[in-house]
């Protein structure tokens, strides 16, 4: 039995705007074992990014605020940790990479200096050692001529290289958990394959756990071990990857998987199954199950009663009254 590394319980992150309270994360509970990869999937606005940002307390505040729940990391209560202690964890034990590497790198500093800064800050080593570590990391993520590249500025690198730099920075302190938010969405498929391959390899090498946030079900199927599907601020289904793709139970998960164009000759030009309606606005959510206006299996009860996330078999949780 693997040791639990991260456990999130009933997390609520709300945004207090002029138009009212937006419940971006509304009661999320999920846990992650050491060495595990958790895929967090869902469409825009479902709360997947805010869940990850809440772990590091990086939610933009105001207007955002974590209003409830517990996050424990390796036995420590992250939400009640004083800021200095939290800073020691952030970027060190837990690191994060983002979708657009250009906006997360400082354009006026050389990339090597940016990585070295993180190393010096967290590892308490000297300039020389930090620089050596930087070059070593750039080499590890597959950047050719790392000595030279370390002295370049972000604009001199291609998108794939920048994302490698971000990964090098995120991994420079041997984190125990890395959360990757759409790490390959801005990249081309052949570069995406390189980056996913790299994350997988380094994950085993360092022995870290990964939270992979994406809307791409193919990436999840290939890289995650467990998957949580989010809809309107809540997890609607959680299972290991084989079960989720082989035996999806929530009507939203089923709908998403069916709406994908299928591979192979037989499926060509066949009408795609659709989930009717729009991705919901978090400011105008329906009563009862949040998915009920788009659900094919809706019954009267769904409009009144909010379903809970319940196990239908060991390790397979579904938030649906019909199951």
């Amino acid at each position: 039995m693997a040791k639990s590394l991260l456990s999130i319980e009933e997390l609520r992150t709300h945004f207090f705007t002029d138009e009212g309270v937006v419940r971006a994360v509304d009661g999320v509970s999920v846990s992650l074992d050491e060495g595990d990869t958790l895929g967090l999937v869902g469409e825009s606005g479902c709360g997947k990014t805010m869940t990850a940002l809440s772990i590091l307390r990086l939610v933009p505040s105001p207007p955002g605020r974590i209003v409830g729940g517990r996050i424990s990391f390796d036995g420590r209560d992250l939400l009640n940790l004083p800021e200095p202690a939290r800073r020691k964890i952030r970027g060190n034990e837990i690191s994060m990479i983002f979708q657009e590497p250009m906006t997360s790198l400082n354009p006026v500093f050389r990339v090597g200096d940016q990585i070295a800064e993180a190393v010096r800050l967290h590892q308490k080593v000297g300039k020389r050692a930090a620089w050596d570590r930087t070059v070593e990391m750039l080499q590890k993520v597959g950047i050719p001529a790392p000595e030279r590249r370390a002295r370049e500025y972000p604009h001199q690198l291609s998108g794939g290289m920048r994302q490698r730099v971000m990964i090098a920075m995120a991994l420079s302190c041997n984190p125990r958990l890395m959360s990757a938010d759409e790490p390959t969405t801005a990249l081309d498929v052949t570069i995406q394959a390189q980056i996913l391959d790299l994350i997988e390899r380094l994950k085993d090498e360092i022995g870290m756990s990964v939270i992979l946030i994406t809307h791409n079900l193919g990436i999840v199927a290939e890289t995650a071990r467990h998957v949580a599907v989010m809809y309107a601020g809540k997890i609607v289904e959680y299972a290991d990857v084989q079960t989720l793709f082989g035996n999806p139970q929530h009507p939203y998960t089923i709908g998403l998987l069916r709406s994908l164009p299928r591979r192979g000759a037989s499926a060509r030009r066949e009408r795609l199954e659709v989930i009717p309606g729009l991705v919901p606005s978090l400011q105008a959510l329906p009563p009862g199950c949040k998915f009920n206006p788009r659900c094919k299996e809706v019954i009267a009860q769904c409009r009144e009663e909010e379903p809970e996330l319940k196990p239908i078999e060991p390790g397979h949780l579904v938030r649906c009254l019909r199951r």
Partner: protein, 352 residues
């Protein structure tokens, strides 16, 4: 890759005679963008966005155009519509060389060819209502009276799944999928023959993508549209296209009927591209071909085959000979020296 060399003789250049049947024919189409710099704006180099493309689009088909960012696929789409003037080459629309058209002739032709853009947020004027956005092409071409135009706009909205109540609203009041529907209604207003769809679903949420893909297919059937469908998402292309052209650094490297391209890719780049797409089934563990390095800059593409720097099968001659696009099986063209006896297809055994 099996490594079978196709040595049967094939036409050296793509048949230009079929121009009568094709809706669009591109011949040796080139678009170079100058890169200028310095005090006097001296030309420092050229981005070879489209670098000698021969391509035809048949009436009623969906031709998929795939490739990675910067490969020139969007530029090619725009050059075909003459939204960008090509540097060299010809574009025939229904057999007519449209590059010789005067401004007036071109405006008349624009009714027949339209474009749908990727980003539904930036391609609609935020200060105009849906009624005026969708009605604008009709007004520009002075079609019907104001009342007739209004009726037509309503019909168009109905066709794309929007309703009367949306008429007086502004783009910001809509979701991404709805905005893309508005863009589609605008493109259809003049009843075009050709629609260039430039990444029409890649900015949309997953559950909305399927809705828009179905809509585009319904409209094609209903209005006999011909699509040039530009996308980087191969599963969408496999679903929607009849034929697929693969672009790399400004050149078409492979073109084949969709089923054939996906089942028997011949160009090493196509092969790598297909293998890189993640499959939505955790049980299939496939061999992924990881290409080394990045796409070279289109300002200074490598000599010879422009893919040789990343190609797992590159041979010495690939560094020198630029492979022509050769038909190696009915309807299947590929630009790769491994796939045919290149000495037959390259003059003097050497080419630039």
């Amino acid at each position: 890759m099996t490594g079978t060399h196709v040595t049967t003789a094939a036409p050296v250049s793509p048949p230009a005679a079929s121009a009568d049947h094709d809706l669009v024919v591109c011949q040796d189409l080139v678009k170079h963008f100058p890169v200028t710099g310095g005090f006097f704006g001296r030309e420092l180099g050229r981005v070879r966005a489209v670098d000698g493309v021969n391509l035809s689009i048949r009436p009623g088909e969906t031709l998929g155009l795939v490739g990675e960012s910067g490969c020139g696929k969007s530029t090619l789409g725009r050059v075909i519509l003459r939204l960008i003037e090509p540097t060299a080459g010809r574009v025939l629309f229904e057999g007519q060389d449209i590059l010789r058209y005067t401004g007036r002739q071109m405006r008349a032709l624009r009714r027949q060819m339209q474009i749908i853009f990727q980003d539904p947020y930036s391609s609609l004027n935020p200060r105009k209502t849906v009624a005026s956005i969708v009605g604008e092409p009709l007004a520009i071409h002075k079609i019907g009276t104001r009342r007739e135009r209004e009726r037509q706009v309503l019909q168009l909205l109905d066709v794309v799944g929007l309703s009367r109540e949306h008429l007086r609203r502004y783009p910001h009041e809509f979701s991404g999928g709805q905005r893309q529907r508005i863009g589609i209604a605008r493109a259809l207003a003049l009843n075009p023959k050709l629609v260039v769809a430039d990444e029409p679903v890649s900015a949309l949420d997953l559950s909305i993508q399927a809705q828009v893909i179905n809509l585009l297919e319904d409209l094609q059937r209903e209005f006999h549209l011909t699509y040039l469908f530009i996308a980087h998402d191969l599963s969408v292309i496999e679903h929607i296209a009849n034929r697929v052209a693969v672009m790399y650094l400004g050149k078409i490297v492979e073109l084949a009927p969709t089923e054939r391209l996906f089942s028997q890719p011949l160009h090493p780049y196509t092969e790598a591209l297909l293998s890189a797409v993640p499959i939505v089934d955790p049980r299939t563990k496939k061999r992924r071909i990881i290409l080394e390095g990045d796409v070279p800059s289109p300002i200074s593409p490598p000599p010879g085959c422009s893919f040789h720097t990343r190609c797992p099968y590159a041979m010495p001659e690939c560094r020198q000979v630029s492979p022509p696009l050769v038909e190696v099986a009915p309807g299947h063209q590929v630009a790769c020296l491994l796939r045919y006896d290149w000495r037959q297809h390259v003059k003097g055994g050497r080419a630039a």
